[in-house]
């Protein structure tokens, strides 16, 4: 973001960096190396990819054929649904950066975020056409839907792992080790957050009940 702010907004650079996401999809190792080291990627493009991913995820709810995805609208909370991407993403980025920075990781927090967002490219690229096609097939022909849907997720995961290895300049083994460690770190963070929230709510409840008791006595 700093680059974009200090310099004049550069459409050509933005467009080029966005198209670079497609290059990263097909050439993960080369692409993700250049992403940070050659400064081919931009924060604006990363944000765009994230936003497009979120939009596709919401559109899927409405426009996927009911054969493959039925939505219980009464209990759907759109913000929580978006959080199912954003929240793990935030945990991943923070967890990964926090760990790798202690162990010679070269990537900075912003770069981890940018590379992860670039790694999510296959999701909109595959899911959007899949969503459209789902309306033109029957349930018997629908097997490919679930297969492709799973492939898009695995693809994303592989890209993100590859991206982390490249931006931190890790070897393959070390990269895998830190992927597992990051997942573990995410769990720890969830655990701490849960404790934090339950403590806070207990604390608040204490004062609420105190106030209630007080009201009764008056």
């Amino acid at each position: 973001m700093t680059e974009a702010r200090t310099r004049k907004w550069n459409w050509a650079k933005y467009w080029d960096s966005l198209r670079f996401a497609l290059y990263c999809m097909t050439h993960p190792l080369d692409g993700f190396w250049d992403l940070t080291h050659e400064k081919r990627g931009t924060m604006a493009a990363a944000n765009t990819i994230l936003i497009v991913t979120l939009i596709v995820r919401i559109m899927k709810l409405r426009y996927t054929s009911f054969l493959f995805l039925t939505v219980y609208w009464e209990e759907l909370n759109i913000f929580l649904y978006l959080a199912s991407i954003v929240f793990p993403l935030a945990l991943w980025v923070v967890g990964n950066w926090g760990l790798t920075t202690l162990f010679d990781g070269k990537g900075r927090l912003g770069q981890v975020y940018m590379a992860t967002c670039y790694g999510m490219t296959p999701y909109p690229v595959i899911q959007l056409p899949l969503m459209i096609i789902s309306n033109f097939v029957t349930i018997e022909e629908g097997q490919f839907y679930s297969v492709l849907s799973v492939i898009s997720l695995i693809y994303c995961a592989l890209l993100i792992i590859a991206a982390m290895g490249q931006i931190h300049e890790f070897s393959g083994g070390k990269n895998l080790l830190f992927t597992v460690a990051t997942l573990f770190a995410m769990l720890v963070m969830i655990f701490i957050l849960m404790i934090f929230f339950s403590m806070i709510s207990q604390g608040v409840m204490y004062f609420v009940s105190l106030a209630r008791e007080f009201m009764f006595r008056i």
Partner: protein, 505 residues
């Protein structure tokens, strides 16, 4: 069906962890406000107009009995005669159905001729073959009696001689069913190997249709390492006993059992109802969104909890079957595809409510339910809504699709929350080759298979109608880039042609 939900569930699961902390949600079960209800695609309880209404309740005094009925247990309908096993009084009552509001006492059967012991001891079930011979489960006397229609002793079926049976076990036949060849299918307390099958000459020919044995894999591992003494202490993996059986008009035996746990039912490991063919295999169709086990919400309410306890089942001539839930005093109707047609009833003392219903029989679409604590028979007749549903189904089976569609439409006018009505209209439209309209009805109620059928035909028609345009579009898609490439190539050749270059220089 679960597959689809899993997709949504997986997506939400990550969030769930988070939300449970932020927003303490209160789990609640919807109280059933109406007497009749149904369960929709999502598993929500949808109130419904009454499907059956009580025509009359027949108590001992209504029937003009001098000795009041005492814990009666069995019902059997033969023509227009309704037989009631008055178990506590060791007799069988023969009632004649005059109309849906009237049952008259024909005779009281408490003894027969031609045997030393010519009385009954706690008869629990009676069945009558096509020839008119009586088969009576004489539980206290450890025998199944066969009498002719004038109550002369013909023969009896005793404890099967089988090495796998415990020698000391007293034979207590409780329920029975007779097929057209007078073969006897019987269930007895303490025998869990399935139904006991006797040939018509009285020889025991084997056990058929034992329930699936379910066990926990963890338990299995534990057992492997346990000592003999420990193993004896543990629960053994045995099939459960059936509670009741019913022979349908085609000769299939419907067997129900209440000894099932909620976990097994949900994991599809146990069946509350089974349809057993001659081979002893279960052939019940379970295409509904939810299993054929009554209530899917099993939370405690009003002192009752756990899954529905099916104590009896009866099958109509159109393959709709009604299961009787002893636990919550309910009737559950299912169609031939295993989809719930209706659910109604409750525990209580009013007409149409039960205390301990044990047996169900039908006459046409009328239903009789026997309550063993109330010692009363409750007669039900279908309401306008119920009759319309049956009518629509029958018309569909007879191939009168237009009329069936119209009947379903009237059902839908009476109950807009009735999934089967939408699917029924859709199926009628599908048969009339009105695919586009059918698709809309199927989509509303998430019937993916029928939708796919309709869509497949619709797509075929669409392609046939638009074949010209499709070919044109494909041609354009191929020819235009080809042409552009060609033109570019020619232009390039011209631009680089030697003659012009020389000319320029």
């Amino acid at each position: 069906m679960t597959k689809k939900r899993i997709l949504a569930a997986v997506a939400a699961s990550a969030v769930c962890l988070f939300t449970t902390v932020l927003m303490p949600s209160v789990a609640y079960a919807k109280e059933n406000d109406s007497y009749t209800y149904n369960i929709d695609y999502w598993g929500d309880v949808q109130d419904s107009p009454d499907f059956y209404t009580v025509s009359s309740v027949f108590t001992s005094s209504d029937l003009g009995l001098d000795v009041k009925m005492k814990s009666p247990e069995g019902l059997f309908m033969y023509g227009d005669l309704l037989y009631v096993c008055d178990t506590g009084n060791n007799r069988i009552l023969e009632l004649k159905r005059e109309s849906s509001e009237k049952l008259t006492l024909q005779r009281i059967i408490d003894s027969f001729q031609g045997a030393d012991n010519n009385t009954f001891s706690g008869p629990t079930d009676v069945a009558i073959s096509e020839e008119g011979n009586f088969f009576i489960a004489d539980k206290g006397n450890a025998r199944v009696l066969k009498l002719d229609k004038d109550l002369n002793y013909l023969m009896e079926f005793n404890k099967p001689e089988d090495n796998t049976l415990d020698k000391d076990l007293t034979f207590q036949p409780s329920k029975l069913a007779i097929d057209t060849a007078e073969r006897v299918y019987c269930i007895a307390s303490g025998i869990n190997k399935g139904m006991i099958k006797y040939e018509s000459d009285g020889t025991f020919s084997g056990f058929v249709g034992a329930t699936k044995v379910t066990f926990d894999f963890a338990d299995y591992i534990w057992k492997k390492f346990a000592t003999q003494a420990q193993r004896a202490q543990m629960e053994s993996f045995v099939p459960t006993e059936y509670d009741n059986i019913y022979m349908d008009y085609e000769g299939f035996v419907y067997a129900c059992t209440g000894a099932v746990t909620r976990e097994d039912l949900r994991a599809d490991k146990a069946d509350a109802v089974r349809k057993i063919n001659l081979m002893g295999n279960d052939i019940l169709v379970r295409n509904g969104e939810w299993g054929v086990y009554g209530d899917i919400h099993m939370g405690s309410g009003g002192g009752y909890e756990g899954p529905s306890y099916f104590s009896d089942v009866t099958v109509f001539e159109n393959d709709i079957y009604i299961c009787l839930d002893r636990n919550r005093g309910r009737l559950f109707g299912y169609d031939d595809q295993g989809r719930m047609v209706f659910a109604c009833g409750s525990n209580g003392n009013m007409d149409g409510y039960f205390r301990r219903p044990v047996a169900i029989e039908h006459y046409g679409y009328d239903v009789y339910v026997l309550d063993t604590l109330d010692c009363a028979i409750t007669g039900f007749v279908p309401t306008e809504f119920g009759s319309l549903v049956y009518q629509a189904m029958d018309q569909f089976d007879q191939g009168d699709y237009e009329a069936s569609g119209a009947s379903w439409q009237r059902v839908m006018d009476l109950n807009g929350n009735y999934d089967l009505a939408y699917i029924g209209i859709g199926r009628a439209l599908l048969r009339q080759e009105r695919y586009k309209e059918a698709m809309e009805y199927f989509e509303v109620k998430y019937d993916d298979e029928n939708y796919s059928k309709a869509f497949k035909q619709y797509r075929k028609e669409w392609v046939e109608d638009h074949i010209g345009i499709i070919v044109a579009v494909i041609l354009v898609l191929f020819l235009v880039p080809l042409g552009i490439g060609r033109i570019k190539a020619i232009r390039h050749e011209i631009d680089t042609a030697d003659i012009f270059r020389y000319g320029q220089q």
